[in-house]
């Protein structure tokens, strides 16, 4: 008997419909695949998913919570997307986020006493600078000594987190904090305004949308974006064509780190009010998933961050009402990423049998 074999053949032209369909299908597939787990935990599948959707999108409050959760994910997802597009593997958005949060805790809790219209731009810039500086070392080490940036950026996460922990137990500890390891809250002038009365959604979202849009324009309309794409697609050819590859990589790294740093500012000044050790439940790492789901597209990041956020927020609601563990959210996001990777493959290739 002749065994049928599966082969992948590259598509000559990729239909646009498939590009749009791929993420939708992978999201649906992740719901289907996780249905078994939901059923296993004893809940009705449709009821549980209904609760999830309602918890994520069903009310003004739910939407506010979802987009408030999406805000840092847009920043970190964008940071990863920008870097990955140039083949710079920044795994350190978590650390850069904390670095941004740390610097505005130093500056924004009373050191600078300025008008909100002045202090907020200053804090945005300083948090970006802090995040960018976090990547300067890794990118220089990579360029000059070939040190793998995956290792350096990843390890810097722990260094920063431990530094924050040290400072929160020491010099930055809030004297009014009843002994909890938390910093003083930022001043009222430094706070990002709420978008709606009584809801947690804050102006950080607008900032995130603005940066996504800016990065999109930079990518397709500017000379820098052209260089960044060229270096990402084919570094050897970019070098051959006389592009300043090293400079482009440094600039890319600084932009990426800067955007992740602003996530820290947005979370402290918009969401939590002060720096704590649980400021980020892994936003930096989830940002990588967000970027991959968006296929590294700056505007796609907005959509994929909203999706991931709605799963997390919805799963919280689901676990409260239906008793399904909220860890199902992690499984769903991971499964949807795997489905996405497969569907990206299927968009670029066609399967042939025999």
């Amino acid at each position: 008997m002749q065994l049928k074999q599966m082969r992948l053949e590259p598509r000559i032209r990729v239909p646009f419909v498939l590009v749009i369909l791929a993420p939708v299908v992978s999201i649906v597939a992740s719901f289907v695949l996780c249905a078994g787990l939901v059923a296993w935990s004893g809940a009705s599948i449709f009821e549980a998913y209904g609760l999830l959707l309602k918890g994520a999108l069903g009310s003004g409050f739910a939407l506010s919570e979802t987009f408030a959760r999406a805000t840092p994910l847009i920043f970190t997802g964008l940071a990863a997307a920008v870097a990955f597009k140039s083949r710079f593997w920044n795994i350190g958005a978590e650390g850069q986020l904390y670095a941004g949060a740390l610097i505005i805790t130093v500056l924004g809790t009373g050191m600078l006493d300025l008008h909100p219209g002045l202090i907020i731009p200053i804090l945005v810039i300083t948090s970006a600078v802090a995040g960018a500086l976090m990547l300067l070392g890794p990118v220089l080490l990579k360029i000059h000594f070939g040190v793998d940036e995956v290792v350096t950026t990843l390890l810097l996460n722990f260094i920063v987190l431990l530094l924050v922990s040290l400072l929160l137990e020491g010099p930055l500890k809030d004297p009014m904090g009843l002994g909890w390891p938390q910093a003083e809250p930022v001043t009222e002038a430094a706070e990002l305004p709420r978008l709606f009365q009584g809801l947690r959604l804050h102006a950080g979202l607008l900032l995130a949308l603005l940066f996504s849009f800016i990065m999109w324009i930079v990518s397709i309309r500017t000379t820098l974006g052209y260089e960044m794409r060229a270096v990402g697609f084919n570094q050897k050819a970019a070098r051959f064509a006389g592009m300043p590859v090293k400079r482009v990589m440094i600039i890319t790294a600084l932009i990426s780190g800067g955007i992740a740093g602003i996530a820290g500012f947005s979370e402290v000044a918009g969401m939590k009010g002060n720096l704590t050790l649980d400021l980020s439940p892994g936003f930096g790492y989830t940002g990588i998933v967000v970027a991959m789901l968006a296929q590294l597209h700056p505007l796609g990041v907005i959509i994929s961050a909203s999706f991931v956020a709605s799963i997390f927020v919805g799963a919280d609601a689901m676990s409260r009402s239906a008793g399904v563990p909220s860890y199902i959210a992690d499984v769903m996001v991971s499964v949807s990423l795997l489905c996405m990777l497969v569907s990206v493959l299927l968009v670029r290739f066609r399967i042939r049998w025999g």
Binding site: Q5, E9, I12, T222, L224, A230, A237
Partner: protein, 532 residues
């Protein structure tokens, strides 16, 4: 071409035409919109050398990959010794006695010859391998077919010719009865080719049947009993070599007549590029250069011949600006260049046609338009205050596309969709639109069909007429002799002096390529005078 005369190696008279060992029926293979093989039927008889002739891209390699099980044909069947073969499995092909020597060797450099030969022939769950028996068999095979190799030598230490011998032994070790040789002479010097043909002769008299894939006419005429010509995926003719003529084969191979580019005699102008005893250390997998000197003048094409890996790509990298010399100087227009960077070289009006279009010349995922400006994207017409001028970029690309006849796709299509010839035209357009005074053309005709290669040569000759100095690096001696004014040969990082094209033959170039001195090989007085 300096190859063995057919009469010396012809064995077909000694053996009566005998049984068919391999039969291909109606093989068709389609890749996307490209029909690589279109209903091909072929037979190979026992003890026969069948040459498969065709241009690059005619479908020779695809057909052989189907035969050897790398691909599965969309339709058609294969019989070996009368038994149908299971397609898509190299293992099954080997079992039935088919051996393949790939164009690019598939040897592990860090293993010994014996290890390479035995690799994969023994079950993995045995505790020890039977090396003694393996060595014995290898030595016997070497004895029988005159393929002497040292079983313990590491492959990395072997010459190209020796590596090829190991590849053949690998197939023989697996009891191959049918041997497919994919462009086996591409990496050999003319002299090595002669030795190689002696080996083929021994293989045939030892009972093997051979399929010899080539696009070199003379070699095909010299070694084969029968010729099958492929053109654009079709089998266009099949005839006895004895009945074939070179012109006839060329016609059916190309399917149209190609005129050789016209070459005017020009007087060389003042020197544009001067290399003065340049030495480059071997680094990053680059081969070294030792004390290389060369002048190229305006209105002149200087060719560098050599077997690949002898330092020619380092010369290319030097002129591209990717490598800095350890010692020696490089002068452009009489000025010493101190800043070795691609950017600086471009600013000094050096145009570069790279060896590898895919990895170096173009960015496959970017569009034709974006690729067309990749060397001048910082010019004010394409970039102002950091913004890219898409309209100018578009019209620049359209200009190149129409002027250099880049076919098939719009300026907004990704470059990876282009065929090799069209990619080369795009690069050529990009290079020539910068009005370069020095052009580095590194293997410009490699992998192109005859028509596209002729076009590239024509454009280079036109640039020469317009006053450019051109450095042509090539492994194709015919290409060099066709368009170069002077030819130098590189061997182990040393560049010979250059010889006018009229005064040197392919066989002399071949000897220089193996490192022999010009004086000792020539008896041509004109060259003696020139070389001094």
């Amino acid at each position: 071409m300096n190859v063995v005369k057919r009469s010396e190696i012809d064995i077909s008279e000694k053996k009566p035409a005998s049984e068919v060992v391999l039969r291909l029926r109606g093989i068709t293979k389609v890749f996307g919109s490209l029909v690589a093989n279109n209903d091909i039927s072929l037979e190979l008889k026992s003890g026969e050398v069948l040459a498969l002739l065709g241009e690059n891209g005619a479908g020779k390699t695809t057909l052989m990959n189907i035969l050897f099980g790398h691909y599965i044909a969309d339709s058609g069947s294969i019989e070996v010794f009368g038994r149908p073969i299971q397609q898509g499995s190299p293992h099954a092909a080997i079992e039935l006695g088919i051996g393949m020597v790939h164009q690019h060797f598939t040897l592990a450099d860090n293993l010994s010859v014996l290890d390479n030969v035995m690799l994969g022939t023994e079950p993995l769950w045995w505790f020890s391998s039977n090396r003694r028996a393996g060595r014995l068999k290898l030595e016997q095979l070497g004895e029988r077919f005159g393929l002497r190799v040292k079983p313990n030598a590491r492959v990395a230490e072997l010459s190209i010719g020796e590596r090829q011998r190991v590849e053949i032994l690998k197939a023989l070790y697996r009891n191959a009865q049918i041997l497919i040789l994919d462009e086996p002479t591409a990496v050999l010097t003319p002299q090595e080719t002669d030795t190689f043909f002696e080996t083929l002769k021994k293989l045939v008299s030892g009972g093997l049947s051979l399929i010899f894939i080539s696009h070199k006419m003379q070699e095909v005429l010299a070694i084969s009993d029968r010729v099958a010509v492929l053109n654009e995926g079709r089998l266009v003719s099949e005839l006895k070599t004895a009945d074939a003529s070179e012109t006839e084969l060329a016609q059916s191979m190309i399917g149209r007549s190609i005129e050789l580019p016209e070459r005017k005699t020009l007087k060389a102008g003042k020197p544009i590029l001067k290399l003065k005893s340049i030495t480059v250390m071997p680094e990053d997998g680059r081969s070294a250069l030792s004390s290389v000197s060369l002048d190229i003048c305006a209105r002149e094409i200087v060719g560098i011949a050599g077997v690949s890996g002898n330092g020619q790509s380092t010369i290319a990298d030097l002129i591209t600006g990717l490598v800095e010399p350890r010692s020696g100087t490089l002068e452009l227009h009489g000025e010493v260049v101190n800043n070795f960077s691609p950017r600086n070289m471009l600013q000094k009006k050096v145009g570069r046609i790279p060896e590898d279009r895919h990895s170096q010349g173009l960015i496959g995922d970017m569009t034709l338009a974006e690729n067309s400006i990749s060397e001048c994207y910082q010019d004010p017409q394409f970039s102002s205050y950091g913004w890219q001028n898409k309209l100018n970029c578009q019209s620049f690309a359209e200009n190149i596309v129409s002027k250099f006849d880049v076919r098939g796709y719009s300026p907004n299509s990704p470059v990876r969709l282009l065929s090799g010839g069209n990619m080369q035209k795009l690069i050529l357009g990009r290079v020539l639109s910068g009005n370069p005074q020095l052009i580095l053309a590194n293997q410009p005709g490699r992998g192109l069909d005859v028509g596209a290669a002729a076009y590239v040569h024509e454009q280079l000759l036109a640039a020469r007429e317009n006053g450019a100095a051109i450095l042509l690096i090539s492994e194709d001696l015919e290409e060099l002799l066709q368009i170069a004014d002077r030819i130098a040969v590189i061997h182990r990082g040393r560049l010979s002096e250059s010889y006018p094209r009229e005064s040197i033959s392919i066989s002399q170039l071949g000897l220089l390529m193996t490192g022999q001195q010009k004086k000792s090989i020539t008896n041509n007085h004109a060259i003696e005078a020139d070389a001094s």
